[in-house]
Amino acid sequence: MPHGSPITDPILTSQGLLLVVLAGIAMALGALLIGKLLRRNVPHGVKGEAYECGEPAVGSSWVQFDLRFYVVALLFVIFDAEVALLYPWAVVFKDSGWSGLVDLLIFLGLIVVGFAFLWRFGYLDWIRSIRAQTDANASE
C-alpha cells in the first residue's frame, strides 16, 4: 500500500541533513562546553602520556602497515562499485523479465571470475606462509 509520495527534492533532503548535522554538532559541543565550565583542570606530565600498560611509550605509533589491508581495500572498492550498480537493477528487476536475469549473470559472472582468481592464488588468505609462496613460484 503506498504511503503518499516520496521526497525526491534534493534541496529538501539536504536541508534535513543539514538540520540534523547541526543539531548533532550542537548536542556534542554543548555537552563538552558545559563540561568545560564545570570540570577542574589539573594537568600533569603523566596524564598526557600515551597508554602502553604503564611503560613509557617508545617511538611514534604512526607506522606503515601491512599491505594485506591494501588487498582488502581494493576488493572492497571493486565489489562496492558492483553492489552500488546492482541496486538500480534490483529496483526494475521484476519488470525486465528474463533479460534482466541474464544481465545479472553476465555482470556478476565477470566479477566472480576475478574473485575466483584471487581465491585460487591465495590473495584472500590472511596468513600466507613463505613456503607456500615459494612453492607456487617454483611450480610456475
Partner: protein, 520 residues
C-alpha cells in the same frame, strides 16, 4: 622525562568560585532537597511523572488537532497530505478573527514545525535509547555471568546508572595525549556521532513517522551509516597510541569488508519489493506475519541471517568486536579517549545497533506491523463492526491511537528492533571473539560467496515465480512452511526466555545458588 618522575604534585585547594562553583552548589542543593523526597515516594513520583507526560502529550496532540479542525484544514497525514502554506494558514486564522502577522505564522508553518518536532524527537529518542541500552547491556551481561549488575543508583535495579555516568562523564577532566594530533583527535567523536544521528532522519518508525521519506532511503541510510567508520579510524590514528592504531585499522578492514555481504544481501528484499524506499518495502508487507519478506522465499530467509551477521560486524559487536577487543588491545580505538568524547563513541555505537536492527525489521520482518496486523479489517468484516474496518484510515486521534497500540505503529517497530538489539547483546556475552584472520576468512571466503549464491538464486526464484505458473504454485506452498519455521523459532525463543525467567536461580550477594541460602 624529569617532570614525570617528580613526586606527585599536591592537589590545589578547592575553591568553588565563578560559574562552575555556582552550578555545582546549585546541583548539590537540589540533590539535598530532592533526594529525601524521591527516596520517600519513588512509586508515587514515577506514576505522577508518567501521568503528567502522557497528559501533556495528549494535550499537545489534541491542541494541534483542534487548531487544524478550527481552521478547517485536513490533518497533515494520509496519502494526499499537503502541508498548508503560510498564506493559507494566515487567511484561515484571520477568518476566525485572529489576525496574526506572517512572520509569526511562518514559525508555525506545518513543514517546519514537523521538521523541528521530528528533530527533537530523534534527538530525544537517541539519547534515551543510548542510556537505556547501556544500562540494559550491563544488566544482561551481569545476569548472563550470574551477577546483578548496577543495583544502587536510582533505586529499582539501578535504573538511573547511565544518567549518573553521563553526568560524571561531563564533569571529567578533558585529557588529550601530548603526542596526539589534536585537531583530528577532537574531530573524531563528531565524525562518529553525527552520522549515526543523521541516519535516523531516513528511518521510518511508522507509516508517516519519518522525517525525510526518500525514494532512495536504503542507499542513503547505508551511506550515511558508513561514515561512522571514518570517525573511528581518525580517532584511533590521531590518538598516537599503538593499541588505538591497531584497533582503528582492524575496524577499517572489518567494516569495509563486511559492507559487501551486507549490501548484496540487502539486494534481495529490494528485488522482491521493487523499491529502494523503506516505507514502500515495509508497506508491501502489510497484512500479517505471513506477508513478511523473511518468509517470502527460502533465499530471503537466508539473506536475513546473512544480513544480520554482516550487521554485527558493521557495528563492531561481538563476535566481531576486534576494534575494541578489551583483552588484547586495552580498549582499541578509544584507549586514549576519556570523558564525554569517549561517551560520544558509545552513543554512536548504540544508535548504529538500533539502526541496523530497525533496517532488518523494515526489510524482512514487516516493519511497524503487529504479527496480526490484518486482523482488524478481517475481524471487522466478519463481525460487521464498521469502526474496526475503517480504523487504519480513520482521522480520529483516538481511533489512530487504538490502531497504533494494537495493530501497527511506531511502538511495534521499536519493540521489534529492541528484540533484535537484545539478540545482539545476548550474542556479545555468549560468543568468544574471532581472530582478525578468521574475521576476514569468514567474510571473503564464506559470507561473500554465500551472498552471491543467495542473490542469483533469489533472482532466478523470483523470475520463475513471475513467469512460470507451475512454479508459483510451488513457491506459494513453500512460503507458509518457512513462515511456520520462522514463527516456531520465535516461539521457542520466547518459550526459552519464559522458562528461564520462571526457573531462574536466586542470586544471593553475587553468587548464584539453587535456592536462597539460610540467613542470606
Amino acid at each position: 622525562m624529569s617532570d614525570i618522575f617528580v613526586p606527585w604534585r599536591k592537589r590545589p585547594p578547592r575553591h568553588d568560585a565563578g560559574p562552575s562553583g555556582l552550578v555545582a552548589r546549585l546541583a548539590v542543593g537540589l540533590y539535598r532537597i530532592g533526594s529525601p523526597i524521591v527516596r520517600r515516594f519513588p512509586g508515587t513520583l514515577f506514576i505522577l511523572a508518567s501521568t503528567a507526560a502522557i497528559l501533556a502529550t495528549g494535550a499537545i496532540g489534541y491542541g494541534m488537532y483542534t487548531i487544524y479542525r478550527l481552521s478547517e484544514m485536513s490533518l497533515p497525514m494520509g496519502p494526499d497530505a499537503k502541508p498548508a502554506t503560510v498564506v493559507e494558514i494566515q487567511e484561515r486564522l484571520s477568518q476566525l478573527g485572529l489576525p496574526v502577522p506572517a512572520t509569526v505564522v511562518w514559525c508555525f508553518q506545518s513543514s517546519l514545525v514537523r521538521d523541528v518536532v521530528a528533530l527533537l524527537g530523534i534527538i530525544a529518542f537517541v539519547s534515551v535509547l543510548a542510556m537505556f541500552a547501556i544500562w540494559w547491556e550491563r544488566k544482561v551481561s551481569a545476569h548472563i555471568q550470574s551477577r546483578l549488575g548496577p543495583m544502587r543508583v536510582g533505586g529499582w535495579h539501578g535504573w538511573s546508572q547511565s544518567l549518573a555516568d553521563g553526568l560524571k562523564l561531563i564533569g571529567k577532566e578533558d585529557l588529550i595525549p601530548t603526542e596526539a594530533d589534536r585537531p583530528l583527535y577532537r574531530l573524531a567523536p563528531y565524525l562518529a556521532f553525527v552520522p549515526a544521528l543523521a541516519a535516523f532522519i531516513f528511518l521510518p518508525f511508522g507509516a508517516y513517522w519519518v522525517m525525510r521519506d526518500l525514494d532512495v532511503a536504503l542507499i542513503i541510510l547505508l551511506a550515511v551509516l558508513a561514515i561512522e567508520v571514518i570517525g573511528v579510524l581518525v580517532g584511533g590514528w590521531a590518538s598516537n597510541n599503538k593499541w588505538s592504531v591497531y584497533g582503528a585499522l582492524r575496524e577499517a578492514c572489518q567494516v569495509v569488508s563486511y559492507e559487501i555481504p551486507m549490501g548484496i544481501s540487502l539486494l534481495v528484499p529490494v528485488m522482491i519489493a521493487g523499491s529502494l524506499r523503506l516505507s514502500d518495502i515495509a508497506g508491501s508487507q502489510q497484512g500479517g506475519w505471513f506477508h513478511w519478506l523473511a518468509w517470502h522465499s527460502p533465499w530471503a530467509f537466508l539473506a536475513m541471517f546473512l544480513y544480520f551477521i554482516a550487521s554485527l560486524a558493521a557495528c563492531k559487536r561481538a563476535p566481531f568486536d576486534l576494534p575494541e577487543a578489551e583483552s588484547e588491545l586495552v580498549a582499541g580505538f578509544h584507549t586514549e579517549y576519556s570523558g564525554f568524547r569517549w561517551s560520544l563513541f558509545f552513543f554512536a555505537e548504540y544508535a548504529a545497533m538500533f539502526l541496523v536492527s530497525g533496517l532488518l525489521v523494515i526489510l524482512f520482518l514487516g516493519g511497524w506491523d503487529a504479527p496480526w496486523a490484518g486482523l482488524d479489517d478481517w475481524l471487522g468484516r466478519a463481525l460487521g463492526w464498521h469502526w474496526l474496518i475503517s480504523l487504519s484510515q480513520s482521522q480520529n486521534p483516538y481511533d489512530r491511537l487504538f490502531h497504533g497500540v494494537f495493530f501497527s505503529g511506531p511502538l511495534w517497530f521499536i519493540g521489534k528492533a529492541m528484540v533484535l538489539v537484545y539478540v545482539q547483546l545476548w550474542l556479545r556475552w555468549t560468543l568468544p571473539r574471532l581472530r582478525i584472520d578468521q574475521v576476514l576468512y569468514s567474510c571473503v571466503q564464506v559470507m561473500l560467496p554465500l551472498t552471491i549464491v543467495v542473490l542469483v538464486a533469489s533472482a532466478v526464484w523470483e523470475m520463475a515465480v513471475q513467469e512460470m505458473p507451475g512454479f508459483s504454485v510451488f513457491a506459494s506452498l513453500i512460503s507458509p512452511v518457512i513462515a511456520f519455521i520462522g514463527i516456531l523459532g520465535c516461539g521457542s525463543a520466547a518459550a526459552a526466555i519464559i522458562t528461564g525467567t520462571i526457573g531462574r536461580r536466586a542470586l544471593v550477594g553475587t553468587m548464584a545458588v539453587e535456592r536462597p541460602l539460610r540467613g542470606g
